[in-house]
């Protein structure tokens, strides 16, 4: 009985973390799904957001100002990746990896040490795990505002052109759309959101750590995939999809808690996350290349194999 109580007690924490990572996943959604760019900057920029926020609030800056500056810092990281990719022509994945590595040093310089605690008892923060119900309410507010703003943005001329860039660059070029500008813009928005998520995460868990971004992209992708799998079929409405992605983050962390509660070694969780994401990313390909046979094709193939075996046998008998 105590077991189940402990599971329920861990749920508010899982939901808060899920919502925080949900914002991050929405950032990933913008690059991965809309812009069709796999952006690995996020592993670094989530940490940048956390570091900027942590160092500012602990030196007495207002938490909202700190949050704002963290977002701006995240946007700058997107700008760097965008510059590498569009102006210098480096493939998107490599551009992200370069920025990510660069950010490790920068984050260390921002923070001035490997990790820094934020004591929520002395410092005023927006979300903290010391008050989980308040944290959940605040985070739902954040997620709602992010979804609303993005929903409106992607309905504008500029937002529409960004989607066109992600869908068909030849078409958007012929329609006078500056694809390079749009890619940079998308990366800026995405990494701004990721940094926002990092800043909230630092406040929530009460510290920023130089290694906290490792593998963030996989969690983001997992949330995007879960969200798409569940809500992709329900509605094509863009707002619902984004909400689905945020909920995907929540589901990820709830499952995470359950798995830990069941006694799985938490050290194995990153491996499991990676395997789950790999499976989901592989599904479309595996489906189309191994499971697309028609019943007739299967029957004929069976007959062919049978015939081949029969000839082989007959030959063997003659010898």
């Amino acid at each position: 009985m105590n077991f189940i109580v402990s599971l329920f007690k861990s749920m508010p924490g899982a939901i808060s973390l899920g919502l925080i990572w949900g914002i991050m996943a929405i950032g990933v959604y913008i690059t991965y799904k809309i812009l069709d760019v796999a952006d690995l900057t996020v592993d670094g920029s989530i940490c940048t957001g956390a570091c900027v926020c942590a160092i500012l609030v602990s030196s007495g800056v207002n938490v909202w100002v700190a949050l704002f500056l963290a977002v701006v810092a995240g946007m700058l990281t997107g700008l760097i990746t965008g510059f590498f990719h569009t102006v210098l022509g480096i493939p998107a994945i490599l551009s992200g990896i370069l920025t990510q590595l660069m950010l490790w040093s920068i984050n260390l310089k921002i923070l001035g040490r490997a990790n820094l605690g934020i004591n929520a008892r002395n410092i005023k923060v927006i979300v903290t795990q010391l008050d989980k119900s308040k944290a959940i309410m605040a985070l739902v507010g954040f997620v709602a505002v992010v979804i609303l703003v993005l929903y409106l943005f992607f309905g504008t001329e500029l937002g529409c052109s960004l989607r066109a860039t992600g869908c068909n660059q030849k078409m958007s070029n012929a329609q006078g759309i500056n694809n390079k500008f749009n890619k940079i813009l998308g990366l800026i928005i995405s990494n701004g959101l990721v940094a926002l998520s990092g800043a909230l995460l630092a406040q929530y868990q009460g510290f920023a750590d130089i290694n906290m971004g490792r593998g963030a992209i996989v969690i983001g992708l997992a949330a995007v995939i879960i969200g798409d799998a569940i809500f992709g079929h329900i509605s094509i409405n863009f707002g619902v999809r984004l909400a689905g992605v945020a909920l995907g983050g929540v589901i990820y962390y709830v499952v995470y808690q359950i798995v830990v509660w069941l006694g799985l070694d938490p050290e194995l969780l990153k491996m499991l996350s990676a395997i789950v994401v790999a499976i989901f990313l592989a599904i479309p390909y595996v489906k189309s290349s191994y499971f697309s046979y028609t019943p007739q094709f299967k029957a004929e193939r069976k007959a062919r194999r049978f015939a081949a075996r029969a000839t082989k046998k007959a030959k063997g008998g003659n010898e």
Partner: protein
Amino acid sequence: MLELRHITKTFNAGTVNEKVALNDICLKLEEGDFVTIIGGNGAGKSTMLNAIAGAWLPDCGSIIVDGVDVTDMPEYKRAKFLGSVFQDPRMGTATDMWLEENLAIAKRRGERRTLRWAITRKEREEYQELLKQLDLGLEHRLTTKMGLLSGGQRQAVTLLMATMRKPKLLLLDEHTAALDPKTAAKVLEITDKLITENNLTALMVTHNMKDAIAHGNRLIMMNAGKIIIDVSGEEKKKLTVETLLDAFSKASGAEFASDRALLG
């Protein structure tokens, strides 16, 4: 309206694969000219269109559209002057986006994209009117994803997108080649209609000699990166496939070697 001055382009210069794709091309189009371009594989037809659209920079020469030198203008900037339809029906539209969103993007070709709404209610009615003219029943499918439409429907919509904001020059790069004969004829009919109604200046690459003869007021034949035949007016009206083939062998000193152009 369009002027090409001594355009030359060599691909893979200095290697064994060196290919002179365009060799000192000079061409001048008057306003309202509808020029069909024909030639064998590798003659430089599409290369010439790509040069005008700005897919790459020419080695030398200049391109002037409506008095503006666009030679070193990036592709997306010169799109302001140009309407383009490609051979591949998937290329001309954003397949994951709605029909009306595609049209809205085309309506703002050459304009700054701002934070105003992408589509207004008034525009939606306008799009319905335009689609009705295509006579493909698309006026009721504004919120259908482009990817769900057939190749012919997509080419028709791409044509609409290329012309709804009047371009200085319309570039058609074998835009019916990937369609079945019946659909191709329908799309060509729409092409003719849009060009005449809007009094457009157009360049149409085709591999079909009959189409090249039947459409437009001027015909250009290319071979090995050069324009070898250029007929217009009354002379073009009298052209037949046979006289065109004769003219080709006289001008190039070789037999016309493209079954596709003869049979198509």
